[in-house]
Symmetry: C2
Subunit: 195 residues, 2 copies
């Protein structure tokens, strides 16, 4: 029997993500995708049951890469400052290495597609919860509702990151996120979160 060409699955995935980032969900048609990935429309259906199945699998794949990259060098028993900083750096690095994945996930997260599934639970890892729990025990960080903590610890970071990715300009020139600005914001967040 003829062997599956695994390159094709990756080609479909990468082209689909690129198309969605460039033109949105309605910009992804199976025929245009087939043309971009240089294969027949029907071939897509060998790897994915349907358009909806494709979208779901794209999201799960991207989320998997995100989780892997985000946990690199991270340990739940780290001191708070070190652990949170690693999280920031990992997420920042992820957005630079996989910018299309990042933009795709943001688009997905803000679309109603996600509401029809129950994907959101996994977003916040139990490793992070454990990390925060121990840091609170050690008196390294204020004891807050999980959502308030998350909002303080990551809200500023993601706001900066999205400015950067969208090349938003608050005044004149487009914003570029530097290591210095990232560290500066991090210090402010630490200040807010000290017990």
């Amino acid at each position: 029997m003829r062997a599956k060409d695994e390159n094709k699955e990756a080609a479909i995935r990468e082209q689909a993500i690129a198309m969605i980032v460039a033109e949105g969900f309605h910009g992804l048609s199976m025929q245009k995708l087939a043309k971009a990935a240089e294969l027949s429309p029907s071939t897509i259906y060998i790897y994915y049951d349907s358009r909806e199945d494709l979208l779901n699998k794209l999201f799960f794949y991207v989320e998997e890469v995100f989780n892997r990259e985000t946990l690199k060098g991270f340990d739940a028993r780290m001191h708070f400052e070190e652990g949170l900083w690693i999280q920031w750096k990992n997420r920042y690095r992820y957005s630079k290495e996989y910018p299309l994945y990042f933009l795709f996930a943001e688009q997905f997260r803000n679309s109603p597609l996600i509401r029809h599934k129950d994907i959101r639970e996994n977003r916040f890892r139990s490793a992070m919860q454990e990390f925060v729990y121990h840091a609170v025990q050690r008196g390294e960080v204020a004891d807050l509702t999980p959502e308030v903590f998350w909002a303080m610890a990551y809200g500023p970071f993601y706001t900066l990151l999205k400015f950067h990715m969208d090349q938003s300009s608050m005044s004149g020139k487009p914003f570029a996120l530097t290591d210095h600005k990232l560290k500066q914001a991090f210090r402010l967040v630490l200040k807010a979160l000290e017990p």
Copy 2:
């Protein structure tokens, strides 16, 4: 001549926003919209040149309401703590009074549609810039890059608000944003931003 029924324009607008929030941009078809607004597809084209024109006008309308609501009771010469708190409360109130508008705008903002236009500039009002400038002069707040300031001042707020709107659950039960949690987060933000 026959008079325009202005109710129709509003009906089209509200139904379109509801459809987009419920099913995404590709969930908005002119024929389904016509059915939902109880009129003929061709009637839509009396009020809007095309589907794209409709989407643009929806966004501008929603942004206009947002700006109006957000500036209520706000003055650029207010003291920093009072002014920023009014901004938080106004935006919170807006999200409660116009939840569909809020969700629509979030979806629009994270889609590539917005990249094809140049809408984003207006997002951050000059009134806000003036407000921050004076507060810095008076030594009420740290002097930061606009983007870093914005990320600190609004990042946590919007993260909380989106948890609330999406009914995300970080742990067990769905999150509900209370006045108390809002005030708590606000105090933490003030702490981070003090000079």
